[in-house]
Structure formats: structure tokens, C-alpha cells
Amino acid sequence: MSSNKKYWRGVEELNETSPVVEKLRQNEFVEEIPTDEFLGDKESLESSATSRRDFLKFVGFSTAAASLAACEGPVTKTIPYVVQPDRIVPGVANYYATTMADGFDFASVLVKTREGRPIKIESNKMAKASLGANARVHASVLSLYDNQRIKRPQIDGEDVSWEEFDRQVGNALQNVGGQKVLLTSTMASPSTSNLIKEFSAKYGNVKHVVYDAVSEDAALDAYQMKYGERALGNYDFEKAEVIVSIGADFLGDWQAGGNDVGYSKSRIPKNGKMSRHIQFESNMTQTGAKADKRVPLKPSQQKAVLAAIYGYVVGGGSKNKLSPALDDVVVKAARQLRSAGAGAVVVSGIPDVDAQSLVLAINEALGSRVMDRNNPKLIRKGNAKQVAQLVKDMNSGSVGALLTVGVNPAFSLPNAEAFKEGMKKVEVSVAFSMKKDETAKLSKYIAATPHYLESWGDVQLTKKNFSLMQPTIRPLFDTRQFQDTLLKWTGSEMNYRDYIKETWASNLSGRGWNQALHDGVFEANSPVSSIATEEGDVAGMGTMSAPNYSSAVNNLSSDEGSEFELSLYTKVSLGDGGQANNPWLQEFPDPITRVSWDNYLLISKPDADKLGVKNPTVSNGALNGSYVNLKVGDAVVKNVPVIIQPGQAKGAVGLALGYGRKEAIQKEMQVGVNAYPLYKDFSAFQNVTIEKADGMHEFACVQLQSTMAGRDDIVKETTLEIFNSKDKHYWNPVPEVDYDHNEISVREEKASLWKEFDREIGHHFNLSIDLNACTGCGACVIACHSENNVPVVGKEEVRKFRDMHWLRIDRYYSSADTFKQEQEDLENLGAFETYDKIENASYDNPEVAFQPVMCQHCNHAPCETVCPVAATSHGRQGQNHMAYNRCVGTRYCANNCPYKVRRFNWFLYSENEEFDYNMNNDLGRMVLNPDVTVRSRGVMEKCSMCIQITQKTILDAKREGREVGDDEFFTACSRACDQGAMTFGDINNKDSKIVELKEDDRMYHLLESTGTKPNVMYQTLVKNTGDL
């Protein structure tokens, strides 16, 4: 009997009389297909000159022409040098040591050049100042080949020659009345300081104002008050045993960054010991993610905590208004600080002079040896008060000439509107800029400046550590660097290179100029008397009164805060926004949120619920977010998309600076909102009011799965206590499989279906990734991009999870407070409850883990067996090869890969108008590595374990007739990892470090139970939670 059950497709269908239902029944398509639009117009069809026969003729002709054209092979021309430079051998890379210094990022780097083109940045391992090259530094090579750079000097928007430019600006500067102000970024260059002095002497009434878009003013003031020197503390976290951070994202860009190198070293358990890290913060940062104990707090609470810690450590008051639970944590932290003594350090990112003073006082009281008093950092000089004064002066009309150098205040000043008004009153405005940005556009004269890879320079990173900058390519455009222009204007015949050489003539402490230039770094005493007082220091500042700690404590603990407190921060990808037109950085997913191509408001779950903002996942699997409007004082930023961030402190919201630039930025990269208007008084903490706005924002987020769902063979994690006391089989068990009704280790030979090849002879490469040392900084991701010609696919494609990163850094939240608890939940809960519980991250305060994942180069690779055309196969040296020209694009391999590391070229990403990034213009293509194929549409690609580099290393050894030395092998990612999280090597070389790591107790393989026998290994994450 047939059922007369009625199935219905929608509620509307139940309504018998509904016209909609009737209409849908009648029409196959909901909307009528607009055929008439192109066929109905008889007139236009008839008036067309092309008849059907003509059309066929055209088709025939073009087919014939196309096939005829295809018969002829292309003629390739090759043009050798007329006079070949000595050092250049086509096909062999040259390396030059130089320095990146763009006012925000400072790093000593090695530049790889091929045929005279810089193609990759690596960090200079000789550098003593432990400033590793971060993702932005690695990506800076692409900014050299930026299409939007200004190509020659301009006056009033018209291109002019340099002679004309010098003449006109020279006249203008001679004749202008009022102050002449040089507004520069932090240059930290002794020679430039000298030069500015000479310039001042010649022109008179010159004022030099240093402006950092993202200011460290409070820390600089505090340091100056205490130690009489405008500098930043130089912390070596390798020496730290207990680290207490209050709002300092010191693994990010806190106080000019570069602290992650030392930190990572202190985090690897050695002899049963590692450092302990307690973090109080409002946004979830990389630093918080790495902490052993993380306490989410609103900015105002952070201040109270700092005051309390001061009380507990230095003394002077154990009274505070902290909640008992919080006070308990603070007491414990203070106790540990005291017991660690010299090995303890407190750092803070609170943008407040009082707070920074207290931090210095606490460290002094502890006798901390982590901060090097004799060698402070000199790479932030910005003076907020002077900048504010300048804007006032400009508006009062007392500034006659304004020379902006490498800064973009018309965009990045909180009071940019006032600055723009002031610009109108300045008679002579000269912008030294690489771009025709917001400021340059308002300036009468634009002096086109070169990229740092085309320039000379000297940089004082710390008091004793210097780094030299040298050009690695001839200027691509008709540009002249700021210093050369100053030399011209002061009437000097010298060029800047000779000027630097002269500055250092007698100060290279026994080493010649050539040696210093070769190394790129050297230690010395500055030949220029205290650039600290020269840059950014004015009368009055030097005689700052000594800090009053008790009033500081009072001030801090009396901050009431407000309902919502905003913490402005900088993202790993864009920093202060200087490289906003760099597609590698735009596509780089944030280490925590895993969102690329955007900035957004970070908000906690309870606050989001209160405001009614949502973060839904839509039907195509992509992430959306509600919009909100933010208001700080009179500044309003509209339509800020929202990300609900697990671990975000209640009442605290976060927003990244550096986004939302529009001028001289390609349309595709004009993303995000400009948060600088909220950056009042250069303070990152602001009280903010939030209201929900209409509409939904489309994010490009690459990882929506936020937990490991209780599985313990993805990120293995344990505590130092267990690590020290228990056997490795307890905390790092090898998965077992059933064999003849017995459980055997999956590592045993008989557990596998396949026969093992003999891999004992020759090389066999392994890569080890230490999850303790990895801070998720992403330098490896960009290095991989740069080495392997990985294409940029754009926001729309990333949203569809078609990102091409060969190396991704997965971030996992725990669904409970810790990963251990998550696994316990999985065991104890029923099937239905588990889903809700463990698939969703804890929003309160989850534990976080980073895990870089690339092709695991399995010895028993599942991808190889399913390829119908044998395009992927295994090499004797352990690498899983991918022959692009053999691939037909079935994608079986990607589907069979348990690690999901294979990337498919859905489109042609080079020379394609639809993907208008660096590979679509001649300039941008100069960055391509000539040793690696640019993949075409329809082929699969993946990490090759940098086979081009290992092959090169082997070939060099063969040519020189020697064995490959210990640890001579490297990959792009392992070399980029200054933290030492990634180690690459040959396990058949028994002396190498990789063998030691392979035998390490912490070693495990990702998803080892699948029996893939990968050549990539991980070191178990150990957290020093102890009695916290």
C-alpha cells in the first residue's frame, strides 16, 4: 500500500493557497531566464553586419590561424652581458649582508641574489643583537618589486628631473621663513644623525622630530627617567627562568620585537628545566598562546595587577582591589618571581609611563639579569609630545617647511585630519617616500626614495651592535635616497656610501670596512655622540624628574576602566601598515585567528552575545562576521567586522593597526579598516563604545576547525612535571595496531603492508619541528612562499579554502581549559554531548597550540599509491617528489592525504589578469626563484622539502670532492626559523643534530597510527604549569 504521506519542501508549501507555491510549480526557474535580452531584439540582430556565413568563416579562419601559429616553435633570445661583472656567474646565487630598517622592522639580513636580482631574505646568523628576521622582513623583498612605487621625483604631481628638483626645492628652502621641520621615522643611524646636524647648520632653524606610527613613547620615557637614556630595555629571554608579562606581546612586536629568539631557547626543556611564563593580557596573542598560565584581563585590570605585583615584589603595599581569585594568581606569580630572583623578569605592554616605570623598578628590585642595562635597544625613538607639538605648530602657521621622511602621518596619525589641515599652511612640503601615499599626495615636492635593498646605510640596533646596509641591486627607478639628497642640499660632493665610510673610518675596532660590510654587523662604540639626545630628545626631556613609584601605583590601581576597553595591536602580517601593498603579507593568515586579508574587532563570547554580533559559518564553509561601529571620544570607525575570539578577556576588545590604507595601494589590497583614528595620544589602551551595525562581512579564514576534538596524536602535549617524572611511554605513547591478535607498535616492520627500502646509504632527510620552540610567528611561511614561488590567490579564493601555502601553521584551541581536560571530556561524555563539548573551542581561556604542517614526506605515502599517472613518487633521499608536468589533476592524492597538505592550482595564477598580484607584472616576477617551476593551472603542488636546496648542497660537496658537512643541509623554513623550532638534516649522518632529535624522548609523528612513516617529526609540547 502506498503511503499518502505528504512531503513538503518548505513551510510555504503547507499553505494551499499560497501564490508562491503555485508559481514555483509552474516555473522551472524561479526567475525567468532573460533570453529575450539577447535574442528578442530583432532589430539589432538584423542590423548586424555579420551574417551566419561570415561568422562561420571567422571561426574557420581563426581555427586555421591558431593551428598554423602553433606549428612554429617560439624563438628564444638570449642576451649575455657585454661586460660581465666579476662576481656574477649566471645561475649561481650571491649573498649580501645588509640591514632592513624601515622605521618599524629592524633586522640584520642576508639577501640572496640571482643574476643581480634580490630574490630572498634570510636572517644574518652572525648578528649578535638577537633580532630575528620576522615574516615582514622575509616578505620585504617583494616590496622592492612593488608596482605602486613612485618612480621619479615629482613637483606638483609632475615628473621632473633631479636637477630641476634640487634647484626648485633648494630655492624654496632658502627663501622660506619659519621653522624647517624634518619629520622622520626612527632611523637609528649615526651617519644620518650627523648629516642632519650638518643640514641644520647650513639651513638654520631646523627641527628634527622623530615619529613612530606605532609608538613606544611610554616605555622610552620610563627608561629615560630611570636611566637617563632614551632607549628600550634589551631583554634576553634565554636567561629567564620566570617570565611574568602584563599585556606585553613580546613574541610579537612589543618594544620593537625580536624577543622570540631568546624566549624559544628558554622554552626547550633541558636537564628537566625550562622557563615558566605567566601572561596577563586582554587579547589572545601569540605570547599568551605560548604561556604556561594565561589570565585574560581587561586593560584596566592589567594596570591593577601590575601595581599589585609591584606591591608584592618591591613592597609598599599588599592592599589591592583585585578579586580573590585573581589576587591568588598574582600572589603565586609574585612568589615565583621572588624565588627566581635574578632569573626572573617582568615585562609589560601597558602604554603608560607609570606602568613602564614600575616594571623597571620591579626588575631592578629582583636583580634581574634578563635585561642588559649596558646595551639598550635604540630602534624606537618616536616622541609623541613633539609630534603633537608639530601638528599644533603647523596649524598655527609657524612651520615654513616640512620634510617627511619614510613616514605617512596623513594616514597614521590619530589626529590625521588636523595634520592635513596643517599641511595646507606649510609653504614648502617635501615628502621623501617610496610611494605616493596619503602624505606624499598632499606634499608639493615628492622625492622618490629607494627601497632598503637599493640603499646604503648604517643602523645602530643597540648601543653596541651596529649593522650596515648596502645595495643589492641598482635602483630600479630614478630614485635617490634621503641621505644622498641631504648631502646634495648641504653642498657636499660626497655620496652617502663614502660618508658612512668616513663616519666609521676610525671606529671599526680593528676590522676593516670591507670586513664589516661583508659581515653586515659589527660591535663598536658609536662614533656619533649620543644619538639618543640628537633624535627626538629636546630640552626638558633630559631633566625628567625621577619616577614617583607610590603615585604610579596609585594611578594604576585607580583606573576604573569602562564597559569596553580597546587594545590596539599590530598583526604579524602588516605591522604598522608600511608594507600594506605586499600580497604575501596580506595573504598571510594571522597566527591566532587564521584570518587573512583583514583586520577585525576581537571580542569575547559573552560580549558578543550581549551586543548580538555573530560569527556564522555560511553554507560554503566560509566565515562571516557582523559589523560594529566603534567610538573613542570623537573618533568613529564604522563597519568593523567582528571575530569572536576564544580567550578574549570580557569587556576587552582588540583591533589591529596598519590596515585600511587606500593611497598607492592596489585595489585588491585596500582591505580592512583604519584603526589609527582610535589611537589617541599614541596609547594602545582606549575606552570605547560599541554599537552593532548592519550587514555581514565576508572573511577569508583558512582554519575553521578550532579544536583537535580530543585526539591526542595531533599535538601531543604534556607538563614538565610529567615529562620529568614519568616514562616517555606514558606521555608520548607510540600508537599500537593489532597484529595476530596482539598489540604491536606501529613502528614495527610487520605492522606495515609495504616492504621497506634500504635507506641507509646516501642521504635521508628528516625535518624536526619543536612545538615548544615554535611561536607561530610565520617567518617560515613567508620564506617558503619566497623560495618556492608559491602564488598568491586573493581573498575570494582563500575564502574558498584554495590558499596555496605549502606550509601552514595550524592553531588549536582546547575545548576545555586544557587539552588534557578535553581528552578526559571525550572519554567521559556520551556521544551527543561530546560533539557540542569538544568540537567547539572554550571561549573562556583555552589552551592554545601551534603546529606547522607541511608535506610530511611519508615513507609509505598514501598519495603516491593513488596517483593514476605516477606524478608523485618517492625519492631515495626521503622526499616525496611531485612532477608537475606529469600531473593531470585528478586530485586523488590530495583526497588520500591524511595531512591535507597538497594544494591544487584551480587557476593559472601567473600572468593572469584575474589574479593581479606579483606574478602578473614584470616587476613582481623578478622575485621568482629561477630554480623552481612556476606551476600552471590544473596541477597539484606541495612542499618539496626544498629539494632544489638539498640538491644544491649535495652538488657543491660533489664539486668540491668532500662529504657534506654536519648540519649543512637546510630548507627555506628551517633557515627562516631563528627560534630553532625547525631543524633539518640527514639522519644517515650520525653526527648531525637531526639524529639526536630523532632519538629524543619527545619525538613523535603526526597521525602516526595511520602508518605513513613520515620524514617530518614533531617534538612533544611541554608546558611548565607546575603549581599554577
Binding site: P80, V82, Q84, V89, V92, I947, Q948, V964
Partner: protein
């Protein structure tokens, strides 16, 4: 029975004509080629004679010394800086005895620096004229030696005589002449064949007519059943076999055709400068890696930069007369060297660089696709393979062409067949030791070392 004489005679005449034509054409061709050869030889002989005559005549007239000995000395000592008839690093030496006195010449050649130092006006003038380039002193030369050298340099420039021109023309004429005659023979043969066919048809027709006229009934062949094509068409087995055969044959040729698409073996493009590897690598024995130096250390062999050419061509501004071949005259080669000077911006008259450079756009001969990685140094330095193994007899190539197919199969074959040289390399020592201990292997091919793995060349 009537005879139709006329027809008969036509065919006969035609036949006769044919025979005559055939024999004539053959003798004509032979004669022509023979004469051409003779001509060439005669001219050559004449040339030598005149040259010899002028040599002796001049030396006799001058009475300086023995030009033959002088030539030897000149070539070993002077030729790097001086030319007889052309300014080089130093002045052209022809006519030097009329410019300076013999005594002055003796002392100048023996020690020019001393003369300049002593302030001799002539000496200083020359020193200044040639950019203060000091001439190497030759105290070892006796006056007699100097006489000999001067005798050699004072020989007047042999004028390119009309005879020589004629000779070259004749030679090329005879070359092409022999080609034409072969063509003619072939043409004639084809014509003869055609005539024979026509004649046969005509004869057949005539005979038939004749038979018809004389009433002879020609016995027609018995049409025994079906025609053969029908029998074939009805035999399905045969049809299938044949069609399979044809399909296979078609597939074979189609495959062959497709396999050569993109394989540019023997690709021989015309280059902007006619650079002859035959002259450089063959006749003069210049080592390949002298110019292609980056082959030793780099993935590319490198098209030599023009400053490398100028290492030699600064002094070699023209080719020796012996270098000229039948196809390319000395003038032709000299013009090509002039092209080099033009490109590199070298002014031969002032012996200086003008700075006006025009990089040469060579046409690449060997084009590997982008997805194939090839490293020259791996093969040249590590494996020690001769360049000729892949590039063919370059030293014999007037114009370079692609010798090898450069297909993957070609690469792989070599990797399978070539043993790796394990001896005496610090890199292979350990591997070799391990191998012989473990497997008792003493030699192994590149393929066994992993040289046929995809990822070794494709990444």
C-alpha cells in the same frame, strides 16, 4: 595489310632523339664539372705563384734581410701588439723604415724606454701617440734579426687581385655547377621516362589500330568470375586484417609524428653574428670552458659575455686568409668581427672602447622546458663528461645546431648506462665503502644512485 609508315617513323624519331639527348646530357654534365675543378686548381696554383713571385721580388728589391726568418721572429715576438698593415696596440709596421732611420730603429727596438727617458723627440712622440703604452724591450735581438723582421714587415700588402676574386667565384660556380648538372640529369631521366610511357601508349594504340584495320581479332582474356577487388571486398577476414594493418601503420606514423613535435634536433638558427665554432674550438683548439666558463660552476653553460670575446679579439681584428672557406670568404669573417666590435663598442682605429654598447641578441639553440632542471656543473665538473657527448662535434660546426634530441628518454638512457665515477671523490668515498660492504657493489650507474627519480630534475 597496309603499313602506316609515318606513325612508325614518329616513334622511331622520338626514340632516337631520346638516346641522343641522354648521352649528350651526361657528357655535358661531366665536362662541366671537370672544367670547374680544373679551373679551381689552376687558379690556386696561379695564386701561389704570384704570391711567391711578389715575395721574392720584394725582398730582393729591399735588400734588408731574410723575410722568411723575419716572419718567424715577427710572429713570435711582435705580432701580439703589431700588425704589418694595420694599427693595433702599436703602429702598423709597414713603411717603418721610411719613417725612421735604421739606427734609431735598432736602439728603439732594443730598449725603447731608455730612448724615451733620454728625451728623444721621435720616441716621445710615439710614446704619447699610443697612450703611453711602453713597448717591451728586446735586447736579445741582434741587428741582423731586426733586419730580417723589417724585411718581412716591409713587404707590400698583397693586393687582392682580380684573379683571386675570379678564383673564388669560379670555385663557388663550380660547386653550384655540379649541383645543377645532377639536377639536369635527374630531370632528363624523368623526361625520358615520360617519353617512354607516351611512346608505349602510342605504339599500343597504333598496333591496335593496325590490328583493327587488318581485321585481326585480338584474343580477349577470359574474365574468370569476379574481379579481384570484389573478391577482396567479400572476404571479410582479409578486409579486417588489412584495415588493422592500415590502422596500425597509421598509428605508427601518427605516433612518430607526434613524438617529434617539440623536439628540435638539428635546429640551426641564424645568429646575429656568424660565430664559427669550427674556427674557435676546431681550428684554434680553444677549450670550450674557456668561453663557457660558468659550465664548471653553474647550472647554465652561459653564453659568453662580449668582454670574453675581446680577450682575444682585441688583437685579432681579421681572420687569416687560410681561414676562409668555399662558403665563407675572409671578407665575410672580417665583417663578422666588425659586428663584434660594434656590439662591444670597440673602436679599432683608436684601439679604445667608445662606451656605446649594443648587446647581442643571440638565438638560443638548446631550449629545455622550464619544468626540467639541468645543471651543467653536475655533468661537466662532477661527472667529467665531454661537452661533445651532448652537444656533438661542435668543433666541426660552422653554424651551431642542436645535436641531441634533448628528450627525457635521451637523458634517462644516459643515466641508465653511465657508471658514476666513485673513485677519488671525497663525496662518494663513504657511499662507495658502504655499498661495497653491504652489497659488494663496485660500480653503479647514475640511475642506481637515484638519477632517474622524478624529483631530481623536476621541481
Amino acid at each position: 595489310m597496309e603499313k602506316v609508315n609515318i606513325r612508325h617513323s614518329i616513334s622511331k624519331t622520338l626514340l632516337f632523339l631520346l638516346v641522343v639527348l641522354f648521352s649528350f646530357s651526361q657528357s655535358f654534365g661531366q665536362e662541366k664539372s671537370a672544367s670547374g675543378q680544373d679551373n679551381g686548381e689552376a687558379i690556386q696554383a696561379a695564386q701561389e705563384e704570384t704570391a711567391g713571385a711578389s715575395d721574392t721580388a720584394e725582398s730582393a728589391a729591399d735588400g734588408l734581410g731574410d723575410p722568411a726568418k723575419g716572419k718567424e721572429l715577427f710572429n713570435s715576438l711582435c705580432a701580439s701588439c703589431h700588425k704589418r698593415y694595420k694599427r693595433s696596440t702599436g703602429p702598423a709596421l709597414n713603411g717603418v723604415t721610411s719613417r725612421h732611420s735604421m739606427d734609431w730603429l735598432y736602439s728603439w727596438i732594443k730598449n725603447s724606454q731608455a730612448m724615451i727617458a733620454s728625451g728623444d723627440a721621435e720616441a716621445v712622440a710615439i710614446y704619447e701617440e699610443f697612450n703611453q703604452t711602453a713597448m717591451t724591450p728586446f735586447p736579445q735581438l741582434s741587428n741582423e734579426d731586426i733586419d730580417n723582421i723589417l724585411a718581412y714587415v716591409e713587404q707590400p700588402k698583397p693586393e687582392p687581385t682580380a684573379v683571386v676574386d675570379g678564383g673564388a667565384g669560379g670555385a663557388s660556380g663550380s660547386g653550384s655547377g655540379s649541383g645543377v648538372s645532377t639536377d639536369i640529369i635527374l630531370g632528363v631521366l624523368a623526361f625520358v621516362l615520360l617519353l617512354l610511357v607516351v611512346v608505349l601508349v602510342l605504339v599500343n594504340k597504333t598496333l591496335n589500330n593496325f590490328a583493327a584495320a587488318s581485321g585481326v581479332e585480338l584474343s580477349k582474356k577470359e574474365t574468370s568470375g569476379k574481379p579481384i577487388w570484389r573478391a577482396f571486398a567479400e572476404n571479410q577476414f582479409l578486409v579486417i586484417v588489412t584495415s588493422i594493418f592500415f590502422l596500425l601503420a597509421a598509428a605508427y606514423f601518427a605516433y612518430g609524428y607526434l613524438m617529434q613535435v617539440g623536439v628540435d634536433q638539428t635546429y640551426q638558427p641564424v645568429q646575429p653574428i656568424h660565430f664559427s665554432h669550427r674556427i674557435h674550438a676546431g681550428d684554434n683548439g680553444v677549450d670550450c670552458k674557456y668561453c663557457h666558463s660558468s659550465a664548471r660552476v653553474s647550472k647554465t653553460s652561459g653564453v659568453p659575455s662580449l668582454n670574453v670575446c675581446m680577450n682575444c679579439h682585441k688583437v685579432i681584428s681579421e681572420v687569416a686568409p687560410e681561414t676562409a672557406t668555399e662558403d665563407f670568404s675572409k671578407e665575410f669573417y672580417d665583417k663578422e668581427i666588425a659586428k663584434l666590435y660594434n656590439a662591444v663598442g670597440w673602436d679599432a682605429t683608436t684601439q679604445s672602447y667608445t662606451g656605446e654598447e649594443q648587446p647581442v641578441k643571440w638565438v638560443r639553440v638548446h631550449n629545455l622546458p622550464d619544468f626540467a632542471y639541468y645543471n651543467h656543473s653536475q655533468h661537466v665538473t662532477v661527472a667529467g663528461i665531454e661537452c661533445q657527448q651532448c652537444h656533438g662535434p661542435v668543433q666541426e660546426m660552422e653554424v651551431l645546431y642542436q645535436f641531441a634530441p634533448l628528450t627525457m628518454g635521451w637523458c634517462i638512457n644516459c643515466h641508465r648506462e653511465t657508471n658514476v665515477n666513485l673513485e677519488g671523490s671525497g663525496y662518494y668515498d663513504k657511499i662507495h665503502e658502504q655499498l661495497s660492504k653491504k652489497y659488494g657493489v663496485e660500480t653503479l650507474t647514475a640511475a642506481q644512485m637515484g638519477a632517474t627519480e622524478c624529483g631530481k630534475c623536476h621541481y
